[in-house]
């Protein structure tokens, strides 16, 4: 049964969901939201390059601007609102203390190129965070500058290539499991490597025999996520690392799933040579609607000499920043020194949790995911036998012959007030549904989520396919036409734009 569409309103608004035009559609010439003094008069020194044409920016006053962004924000789902069960994203609560600390005078207002004597506290903070990261991972060194996880991957793979070239060798291939996140093969290609995919076995882990068969003098190493993207711990990780090392290669660990094991397992003990850590996942720095992130990379003794600049050194007379390297560093990856704002937030989080809290957090993350799996397994098909780690992977066998796809199922979750879990990833499973609750979900929250999913599964199997295909009906927008968006891209507002595309 499909319910009737609601009565249209005069404004197009629906209760608290308020339609909001673009800023360009609210322009009044000369209007502004800031008060600036009259500039001094005099000749300019612009070399004849004063701008000739108007820019075309719209003018709004502060009340309109605040209202504009407030209304926009109300159309977003967020962790602050409810469970955000995206697999491998670790959407945990973002503590507000983090925000307060990042804005402290003496931190938020430091220019990156101030004299080093005036920023000793900043360098010490970076050094402290580095110490926590090294201790938690059991690794001797860390590169702090990468700007996000994928950037950290680049750092690790570049260090590997630099190390191999330093040995006088040339190796062209990198092994990447089929279940890997797309950034892994993209990164390998960006460093000039060819990617060789390794299949998963029927237990969802890297097929050891298949991996070993691909090893050879041409293989620079392997990029491997542990726990993997199926939410499973790679039992053979240490054996894999040994085999890769024996063949002269290096082991890159994708640390996206570190939340499952932080404080309980050290990747260094398992044989990684480098691993990026997503501070915006495991260490709660906010996702911000798509960044900024931070992706420091812990490094083994073998790879440490090749770490990028800049890096912090703690000497007898204080902290120094090494910005030019005469040694083996492979170079610079980013402007300035790294995502300091995220360092402050991550260290705040670590100090808040402490070693005991971090250990409890990873345990609760794994407990929550297994609770989901155990509570759903009879209605929604788990992809592999449990236990899982911090995320639970299901496939679409439970939807067979219902006419409902994983996509439809996810869209129906929206009407129930949840952000869908990750869909269609990893690719090794058909119609994947990957759920990561994290440790900051209460049992009540999980029970409500479980109840809703069980009800949806039951309804799908009861033949209510049409309702699923029409979902979502209650969100600020229904399903959007992505095909037309890609066929005839409209990537900016134009003056005199035809606002009504339906007229086409």
């Amino acid at each position: 049964m499909v319910d009737q569409p609601p009565q249209p309103t005069f404004t197009g608004n629906r209760g608290l969901v308020i339609e909001e035009p673009l800023i360009f559609e609210q322009d009044m010439a000369g209007r502004t939201g800031v008060d600036l003094p009259e500039p001094a008069k005099g000749a300019d020194r612009l070399g004849g390059l004063r701008r000739k044409a108007a820019i075309g920016l719209p003018g709004l006053a502060e009340p309109q601007v605040v209202r504009h962004y407030t209304r926009l924000s109300q159309k977003n789902y967020a962790i602050d609102m409810g469970i955000y069960p995206l697999g491998s994203c670790t959407m945990k609560h973002n503590p507000r203390l983090n925000e307060k600390m990042a804005r402290l005078p003496g931190l938020g207002d430091l220019h990156p190129l101030q004299p080093i004597s005036t920023v000793q506290g900043a360098l010490e903070l970076i050094d402290r965070l580095a110490h926590w990261l090294k201790t938690l991972t059991g690794m001797p060194a860390v590169a702090m500058s990468p700007g996000a996880g994928a950037h950290g991957e680049l750092c690790g793979v570049m260090a590997i290539r630099a190390a191999i070239e330093h040995r006088g060798e040339k190796r062209h291939r990198i092994l990447v499991p089929e279940s890997a996140h797309g950034t892994n093969p993209a990164t390998a290609a960006a460093c000039g490597f060819e990617v060789e995919a390794i299949p998963a076995d029927d237990r969802g882990r890297v097929d050891f025999a298949a991996m070993q068969a691909k090893l050879g003098p041409d293989v620079a190493g392997i990029m491997i996520t542990n726990p993997n993207t199926c939410g499973l711990f790679e039992n053979d990780f240490a054996r894999i690392a040994e085999a890769v090392h024996a063949a002269g290669g290096y082991v890159y660990g994708d640390g996206a799933n570190f939340n499952a094991i932080v404080g309980r397992v050290r990747p260094g003990d398992l044989g990684v040579d480098c691993m990026h850590i997503n501070l915006h996942k495991t260490f709660s720095t906010p996702h911000g609607g798509g960044g900024p992130g931070s992706g420091p990379v812990v490094l083994s003794a073998a790879l440490a000499p090749f770490a990028p600049i800049p890096y912090v050194v703690h000497g007898a007379d204080g902290f120094r920043l090494v910005e030019h390297d005469d040694g083996e560093s492979f170079g610079r990856l980013k402007g300035f020194h790294g995502q300091m704002g995220m360092f402050i937030r991550a260290l705040t989080y670590m100090l808040s949790h402490g070693a005991d809290g971090l250990r409890q957090a990873s345990g609760d993350a794994v407990l929550n995911a297994n609770y989901l799996m155990a509570s759903l397994a009879d209605e929604i098909t788990p992809a592999f036998d449990g236990p899982c780690m911090h995320e639970a992977l299901f496939d679409d066998r439970f939807l067979k012959d219902t006419g409902v796809t994983t996509l439809d199922f996810a869209k129906a979750m929206i009407d129930e007030g949840f952000h869908p879990m990750t869909m269609y990833f990893p690719l090794v499973v058909h119609g994947a549904l990957l759920m990561e609750p994290t440790e900051t979900e209460s049992k009540d929250s999980l029970d409500q989520f479980i109840g809703a999913l069980r009800d949806l599964a039951r309804r799908a199997k009861a033949g209510e396919a049409a309702a699923f295909q029409e979902a979502p009906r209650l969100a600020p927008r229904r399903r959007l036409d992505e095909t037309t968006a890609a066929r005839r891209p409209v990537l900016r507002w134009h003056p005199g734009n035809a606002q009504n595309r339906a007229a086409e």
Partner: protein
């Protein structure tokens, strides 16, 4: 007109007078979903059997098109980039991508005929 031949990468080729017309199969367009973009090679480009020669993109996937045979591109379907939906609606007809002048007709022997392609697709699930 000779029958269609098919590749494992889901291209079809129809050869007449030493020139083959190439497109993607109904199976392929269905897997891709709504096609949003095609990138065609330049006329005059030399193609090698099994190597990338064009690109087809849908909202959720991007696929290389591989040359079913070696040869020279002699004509491209100029209207296709403006109406990518034709790949979905008429993959075997107006949704053709390019025409290639074969350098070695013997290469057609490496390809599948209709029956072989049909059972190949069935085996994929």
């Amino acid at each position: 007109m000779s029958g269609l031949k098919y590749t494992k990468e889901h291209e079809w080729i129809s050869v007449e007078g030493g020139v083959g017309t190439v497109g993607i199969t109904p199976f392929a367009q269905e897997q891709l979903g709504d096609v949003v973009f095609v990138e065609l090679p330049e006329v005059g480009r030399k193609a090698e059997q099994g190597k990338e020669i064009a690109v087809v993109e849908s909202v959720k996937a991007a696929s290389e098109i591989y040359a079913p045979v070696s040869g020279e591109i002699v004509e491209i379907n100029k209207g296709l980039p403006d109406t990518p939906a034709t790949v979905n609606s008429d993959p075997l007809g107006n949704g053709w991508f390019f025409k290639i002048k074969l350098t070695d007709a013997g290469q057609l022997g490496n390809l599948m005929d209709e029956a072989a392609y049909k059972s190949f697709c069935e085996g994929l699930h």
